[in-house]
Symmetry: C2
Subunit: 362 residues, 2 copies
């Protein structure tokens, strides 16, 4: 591979999303010839020593980056966070048990719907009445709840839990859009799950972190592939895993580690968010869409005070090679996703477009 990857676009897609340039370069090389095998990574046995080494490194990187104790297992599964919406209650919630849910938007609602198939659901708090512009904080967690479910970052609405409740009830958390973006106290969590395609890798693999002692208590029969214990026993290799998505996720986790781990990621993410929210707040044409204290550091949602101007602004973004800026239909306006791999230089380009647009339309 002598070719150089030249990034021509500033990639603000919400997911699948930007990956580090060095990761893409290695992924490209492995698609051609992996580990000197004379074969593409796409066509080798998942039982080959070269590939089992990938799964082992991915598992150990996830443990190291999140600071997991031996109470937890790391699984690489498929089906996205959407499959964890039912797998988590199927594995944890007895039919007569109660799980609490904090409803912070689209993905929370989907999780609540699936949990109802497996036990009682107590929707403890919700920001639905304000179209999910904030994170509810005033609620009491019943001590007999099996777990409390939260969506740590709301990709659609641009809000984020900056703190998690103090409770003895294990938290089950969808961290699809902010995994590895900041330090967390893992000991609060019973399950952490995430689709890879925001901060961890390409689409096609789902990371699941499980506290082992919570399993095996529902009494219900579970199909083999849906039982976390199946995959724990086989180190995510019970059946053929999604080999290439796991490989690229491993490369991305390696990149996080080489760049200072989740603490360094958090520092850079805060700087990027400060730059962009600062412009939104000071630019006369724009405004944020969420409560300031709950703003997401990953998905920055904003709109124009005069919505008639939004099409022209999108054109200005496109002209500056900024892609993926259009907001989700349930919020409107714009959404700039600025995950770990997004360089601050690209955020600066977007800020410059906003400033130029304001001065041209003053």
């Amino acid at each position: 591979m002598n070719t150089v990857i030249t990034k021509k676009k500033h990639n603000f897609y919400a997911g699948p999303a930007i990956l580090p340039a060095s990761v893409l370069k290695q992924a490209t090389a492995a698609t051609e010839d992996f580990a000197g095998m004379g074969l593409s990574i796409l066509e080798i046995s998942h039982r080959s020593p070269q590939f089992t080494a990938v799964v082992e490194e991915a598992t150990s990187l996830a443990k190291e980056l999140l600071g997991l104790s031996d109470d937890y297992e790391v699984l690489f599964l498929t089906g996205g966070a959407s499959s964890q919406f039912y797998m988590a209650p199927m594995n944890l919630l007895p039919q007569d048990g109660t799980a609490c849910y904090i409803n912070t938007g689209t993905w929370s609602n989907k999780a609540i719907k699936e949990a109802k198939l497996f036990g009682n659901v107590n929707e403890l708090a919700s920001s639905a009445e304000s179209n999910y512009t904030f994170i509810p904080k005033d609620y009491e967690i019943p001590s007999d709840a099996t777990y409390i479910h939260m969506t740590s970052n709301n990709t659609v609405f641009g809000t984020q839990h900056h703190e998690f409740p103090e409770t003895n009830v294990p938290i089950v958390c969808d961290m699809s859009s902010d995994i590895f973006s900041r330090p967390i106290d893992v000991s609060k969590f019973g399950i952490i799950y995430c689709g890879a395609q925001k901060n961890m890798g390409p689409a096609g693999v789902t990371l699941v972190i499980v506290r082992k002692d919570l399993l095996g208590k529902t009494g219900r029969p579970i199909p083999t592939m849906l039982d976390y214990n199946t995959h724990i026993a086989k180190g995510s290799m019970f059946n053929t895993p999604p080999a290439f998505p796991i490989y690229v996720s491993m490369l991305t986790m390696r990149w996080v580690k080489e760049n200072g781990g989740v603490e360094a990621m958090a520092e850079k993410n805060e700087a990027k968010a400060k730059l962009l929210y600062g412009e939104i707040d000071s630019n006369p044409l724009f405004e944020g869409t969420t409560a300031v204290e709950d703003r997401s550091l990953m998905n920055v949602t904003f709109k124009m005070k005069d919505t008639e101007m939004e099409a022209a602004f999108l054109e200005a973004c496109a002209a500056a090679d900024c892609v993926g800026i259009k907001g989700h239909r349930s919020v409107g306006g714009f959404r700039a996703s600025i995950y770990n791999a997004m360089p601050i230089e690209s955020v600066q380009v977007l800020v410059d477009v906003m400033r130029d647009f304001a001065s041209q339309n003053a």
Copy 2:
């Protein structure tokens, strides 16, 4: 991409398995820059027009290659054939219904185990007592069975159904290792499923063909992601699909079409199998492991009459750059997987190794 992919190895892996060189070349290019977007295919939105075009082409190629009528839907899911072992009965079999299973080995057994969670299982025929060296043919299918399940090709044991029974009961079939390898009369089938990683693409995507009128009759609640109707309604895009595995599968199906479709594949597969089985039968050191009439055209299993010589033969294979020849532990000996993408020239190399080995050890 000016680099040339030079294939140094003859890839006989059982799966993930060999892919066409031209497909790997395009996959490598897309990992660098996809469709002139200035972005890798690994980091673009699955809702982008460039990617939705991939899913649409993959769907339409599967329909065309298999000759599907409008009674059938094509789905690209995840979780491998192992997940279809429970999804098929979950979606088709009422709790008081009966599904018939033909037990031809490892994968049939796994399918039978999962089906028992959802209804009655009638194991109609089995070749277990001979360690699965043949395909059972003498059985009568009860006309009131909900479906009959078969594993069309047995990757582990090297047997293959060369014919399917004449019956009005819909056949549910695991075609993981021989999809697109030969023409089939699809109208006999209720569901066809396959993990991609043998004849269709890389690991990480599962093709499911569903006869729509069979759905919605079980009366059981089904989690959203496990209901075939969810994915039918959204054209395999209910949630983020495994984008890159789908893309590479689409390229592989395009390659099948450009190379004459399943009829031309069958002709080439027969020639390759004839060459290799011919050598096994005429070489004094080797013998086949299955009934001759049930030999697989995809996975050629064989052993040495003197098992003491097997290690030396494996070394001779490695010296000739033939990889993935070692047999599965439940059969022993050797297994050469010669899927669609395997050129006859590589089979000839293996045959030459066998001949040379025999003359050196005469």
